[in-house]
């Protein structure tokens, strides 16, 4: 224990000497002796006053309570006590309700008038007055003039037959249009092949003209 205090004393002394003046350079013989320092296994040769480095930590642990009055003791810091603001239950419920129902939905619900406007006026971009929002309808809403029927729907038999005949005619027309489309595709393919032939003939003509040009004017 004394050696430990002596060790700290030496450090203080060296610190003071360093401040005052720089130490002289060690001679070369000392350097040679330093290289021949014995390994820690020969520490026991120095006697019982010598303290092994590995024992310093354990001794320091034992000595800490005794040296509480020294400058090594960490000062006790007083941290400010953080208090979480306590919300009342009503405020928490209000906050949860605000998250559940976003603001824009609230505006939508509040912006619905009591009387609905005419269906034709829906096509134009509607502006909600009252300083709320400007809602622009990008795509026209499909208007269904007839309300959704509730319950079974019946149609007169003569109208049913007419619709059936119309659907049959429509099916025939679609088959014809498919044939027409096939014919157009075939014509287009023939045109493409003709264009390719034309392109190759144009290239052949260019080559022949170049040959004539070289033969007549460069030879």
């Amino acid at each position: 224990m004394m050696a430990l205090f002596g060790l700290f004393g030496k450090k203080k002394e060296t610190a003071q000497t360093k401040e005052m003046s720089a130490p002289p350079a060690p001679p070369s013989q000392l350097n040679q002796e330093d290289t021949s320092i014995k390994s820690p296994q020969h520490v026991d040769d120095f006697g019982s006053d010598f303290i092994h480095i590995s024992d310093l930590g354990q001794q320091a642990k034992h000595e800490q309570p005794m040296s509480s009055s020294t400058s090594l003791e960490l000062p006790e810091l007083e941290f400010p006590k953080l208090e979480i603001p306590k919300l009342e239950e009503d405020e928490i419920k209000k906050a949860v309700q605000q998250e559940v129902t976003p603001a824009h939905k609230k505006k939508e619900t509040s912006a619905v008038p009591e009387e609905l406007p005419d269906l034709e006026s829906i096509h134009a971009p509607a502006e909600l007055k009252g300083g709320d929002q400007l809602i622009t309808i990008k795509e026209p809403i499909e208007l269904r003039p007839t309300p959704r029927p509730k319950g079974p729907v019946f149609i007169r038999s003569d109208q049913f037959k007419e619709i059936k005949n119309t659907l049959n005619g429509l099916r025939e027309t679609l088959e014809k249009s498919e044939d027409t489309l096939n014919n157009i595709t075939e014509i287009k393919n023939r045109g493409d092949s003709e264009y390719e032939a034309w392109h190759s003939s144009v290239e052949a003509i260019q080559r022949k003209l170049l040959y004539i040009d070289r033969t007549l004017f460069e030879g």
Binding site: P152, V153, F154, I155, R156, S157, F160
Partner: protein, 71 residues
């Protein structure tokens, strides 16, 4: 004896109405496609006319050279 009208029950009325709306949209798209194809046909026709003029021009020049060299 009065003839009473006969009615036919339609189960999928809503589905049929939606399908008819879709068919209307498709017909509108087909009309637009047909218009674009007509436009392309007009452009192709004008290019073919230009090509015909060029071919005639080339033919004239070749005939001129032919006359000059071999007549």
């Amino acid at each position: 004896m009065d003839e009473k009208p006969i009615f036919v029950k339609i189960d999928a009325y809503e589905d049929i109405r939606d399908i008819i709306n879709i068919v209307k949209k498709k017909i509108s798209e087909a009309r637009g496609t047909l218009d674009r194809i007509h436009q392309l046909c007009h452009e192709e026709e004008s290019e073919l006319e230009a090509w015909q003029n060029e071919v005639e021009d080339v033919e004239k020049r070749v005939s001129t050279i032919d006359k000059s060299l071999f007549a």
